[in-house]
Amino acid sequence: MFLYILKRVLATIPVMLIVAIFVFLLLRLTPGDPAAILAGDAATPEQLERIRDRLGLNDPLLTQFMNWVGQLLRGDLGTSLLSNTSVAGMVADRLGPTINIAMMTITISVLLAVPMGVIAAWRHRTWIDFLVMSFSVLGFSVPVFVIGYILIQIFAIELRWVPVQGYKTPSDGLGAFFSRAILPSLTLATIYIALIARMTRASMLEVLGEDYIRTARAKGVRENVVLFRHALRNAAVPILTIIGTGFALLISGVVVTESVFNIPGIGRLTVDAILARDYPVIQAMILLTAGIYVFVNLLVDVSYSFFDPRIRY
């Protein structure tokens, strides 16, 4: 098991290396002089030369790359062109809110969607199944910002249960954190509930037709035990995959929700950076997103073997 995890961790190195090369070349291969892009239209030749020097653009490409990777490994992601502060610091400041919201979203999604999917499969082709599937279609098709504004209208403006916008960290008090985090999490969760419920239902339907489910019933096992002990664990692998990819997508996809609810997370940081062509920040965001994907996939792969003993490495 340990050997397998080690193997998988080592296997992430080439993936991350390829991403790093891509990110590095992104700036270098953009048409025109990167220094000119960075310096803007009104730069003098002396300013350009200074920037080139500072960025090491006069060195051979390979040296530049090695230096850059060296910096990355020391945790130095460069300096923002916009605010002139360390990119690593900026990202770290913004990562907290995003991760918190994402965790809450995925928790809500799993807690609601998995039982929904299980029951829909168990009561296949009844009104319960129909209801779950209708909700699922709705969750897919209504845009995130519409759901966000509807939730604000109902719970913040009409009912006044929670604030309209803003963000407080859990250390500011759990009540303050949850009252502000609940609407954005629910907003984000709708599509994941739809996705995970659908996957759970499909996976459960397949498993419920298996011989060992018949065996369990032939033993006189109660239905809830049949569903959750015998069936759900066997159906777990595709569900986990969806949850894992969903979580990674979530981190990178929170842009709209963070804008609607005015949350200072990485979603907004990315948007601001793109609008301002703040290349070091954009680079850092791509690396971070890729890193999260790779890490979450690693977790999912390792967790497979926990649910399914046949997966041994």
């Binding site: 011989d211 060992y212 065996t215 032939a218 006189g220 066997n234 003993p309």
Partner: protein, 561 residues
């Protein structure tokens, strides 16, 4: 072998089924799946339910368990009575209470019938947790105890093993332990040995008989295998199209069957007495295999994985018009040899000469022109034909790839349909519109369309009912006579091998242990392994087709005591 002849009229009746009707859910007008089923089983009795696939054997057993799939089948009338308790009227909770405690079931495929993600010990113990108040330690003790009773080795280790870590026979023992731990009155066994090798089958049949003896259990045994019936049955019910057409004590049924259908079923059981080899003098071998070796594994990124020698120094040759059978149990390497010759996998060493060309070391591209000399028919016709292609397209694809024009290929395809006894208009249809036997005919037609020199049949009749099996074997015989094709016939079934092979090669753990004319190998085996295989063949002392016992059974003495 002695057929059983015990009298059960004094024993208490465990299961009584009267006029049972089962129909399709929500379609009261449709023809019923079961019609007027009557069945009685008494304590200690083994009642065999035989019939071909689709005859309603499994539906009958599921109805007795209250396990009919609700959205497909429902009981329309009649009565199922388990010692005074009427199952037909029971609530779901009452049925749950009954299962495992009074009525238990084991299934055909012990791999899929056990939950792959739970330890087998836990799965047995679950029965106790559901139905008794035993403490955790008592439950474990009882579980270990029943596991010992079904003769599992190294019980402590197997207790915490997962199903995939056990052999097929061990898994079926786990199923039996699970079914019998609460000492039920009735055990329903639905084809419990069909997926197992003959030697394992023999052990499992013995085990069921032993447990039955010890606990006085009534057994309803569902099978399509007349050999198994002859070994274990007290009473037999023959089912056809949802009805019981004949019921009799085993001796009467085998010696003096009344119904035509029963006679037909019995006559279709292939004889273990081998055919006489056909003359091949003067013909050059069309296939020759020399020192073929196939080793799996041995690679690995971080550490060397264990090597498995799936085939070791295999040598044989086949002349045109002759059939060589490779027999052996699962894992013996017989399919590996077939796949090496087909070059579906690459042998690690050795020579394969087909129609004068050495093909063992050719690259995929170099191999392409030789492919048409080699054709294969697989075991499962449900999966070997592309479900989205018409029969015509499947039949024409190969010849067109080798330069035949579309019109010519279509014409040939139509001729082939006649050859395999299917109507010409079947060409426009899709595989799911045919029965299993018809599909296997199509698969054979597809192979023959290439005019191969060698036809490999990998368990090609194993998935078919006996009567269909007999027809397909006849068809293969005809084709061989007509085209003079050499045939490599892979099978685990000695009866089938006896019917069709001129020569037999017996494999065990990758090695050839015996090789010779079918007549000699099957009637006078030299190797212990061959002898064990023959002795394990169920019902080998009975000549089913002629309704009498065999004077001298093939092989040596000794069957189920």
């Amino acid at each position: 072998m002695e057929l059983k002849s015990r009298d059960f009229s004094d024993a208490k009746r465990v299961l009584k089924i009267r006029k049972l009707e089962v129909g399709l859910t929500g379609r009261p007008d449709a023809v019923h799946v079961l019609n007027e089923i009557d069945l009685d089983i008494r304590a200690g009795e083994t009642h065999c339910l035989v019939g071909e696939s689709g005859s309603g054997k499994s539906v009958t057993s599921l109805a007795a368990m209250g396990l009919l799939p609700k959205d497909a089948l429902e009981i329309r009338g009649g009565l199922i009575d388990l010692q005074g308790f009427e199952i037909t009227n029971a609530t779901a909770a009452q049925m749950r209470e009954l299962r495992a405690r009074r009525i238990a079931m084991i299934f055909q495929e012990p791999m899929t019938a056990l939950n792959p993600v739970l330890r087998v010990g836990e799965q047995i113990e679950e029965v106790l947790n559901m139905h008794t108040d035993l403490s955790q330690s008592e439950a474990k003790k009882r579980t270990i105890d029943i596991m010992e009773q079904v003769h599992l080795p190294d019980v402590e280790r197997i207790y915490s093993a997962f199903p995939h870590q056990l052999s097929g026979g061990q898994r079926q023992r786990i199923m039996i332990a699970m079914a019998l731990i609460l000492d039920p009155d009735l055990l329903i066994a639905d084809e419990p040995t069909t997926a197992l090798d003959v030697t394992t089958q023999l052990q499992i049949l013995k085990l069921i008989a032993e447990m039955q003896e010890r606990q006085g259990t009534a057994v309803l045994f569902i099978t399509h295998d007349m050999g198994v019936v002859a070994e274990i049955a007290d009473t037999v019910s023959v089912m056809q199209k949802g009805r019981i057409v004949e019921r009799a004590p085993i001796r009467d049924l085998l010696k003096n069957p009344q119904e035509d259908y029963t006679k037909k079923l019995l006559s279709a059981v292939p004889n273990l007495t081998p055919r006489s080899a056909r003359d091949v003098s003067g013909k050059k071998d069309v296939v020759a295999v020399e020192d073929l070796n196939m080793t799996y594994g041995g690679g690995g990124l971080f550490r060397k994985s264990d090597e498995v020698k799936a085939a070791r120094d295999v040598n044989f040759s086949i002349a045109p018009g002759r059939t060589l059978g490779i027999v052996g149990e699962s894992g013996s390497g017989k399919s590996t040899v077939a796949r090496c010759i087909m070059r579906l996998i690459d042998p690690t060493a050795g020579k394969i000469t087909v129609a004068g060309h050495e093909i063992a070391k050719l690259t995929r591209r170099q191999l392409q022109p030789h492919r048409k000399h080699l054709q294969i028919v697989f075991q499962d016709p449900y999966r070997s034909l592309n479900p989205r292609w018409t029969v015509a397209r499947s039949l024409c694809e190969g010849p067109i790839n080798f330069g035949t024009s579309r019109e010519e290929a279509m014409e040939k395809a139509a001729e082939l349909m006649e050859l395999v006894d299917l109507p010409r208009d079947a060409l426009a249809r899709y595989p799911h519109q045919f029965s299993g036997g018809q599909r296997q005919r199509i698969a054979i037609a597809r192979a023959v369309a290439m005019k191969p020199d060698l036809l490999v049949a990998d368990e090609a009749v194993s998935a078919l009912d006996v009567s269909v099996q007999a027809q397909v074997l006849d068809l293969l015989d005809d084709i061989q006579e007509k085209f003079g094709v050499a045939m490599l016939f892979i099978t685990h079934d000695l009866r089938v091998a006896a019917q069709i092979c001129d020569e037999v090669l017996v494999m065990q753990r990758g090695q050839v242990v015996e090789h010779g004319p079918a007549g000699r190998v099957l009637s006078d085996p030299h190797h212990d392994y061959t002898r064990n295989l023959i002795e394990a063949a169920p019902g080998r002392h009975w000549d089913f087709a002629n309704f009498r016992a065999l004077e001298s059974a093939p092989g040596h003495q000794g069957a189920i005591a």
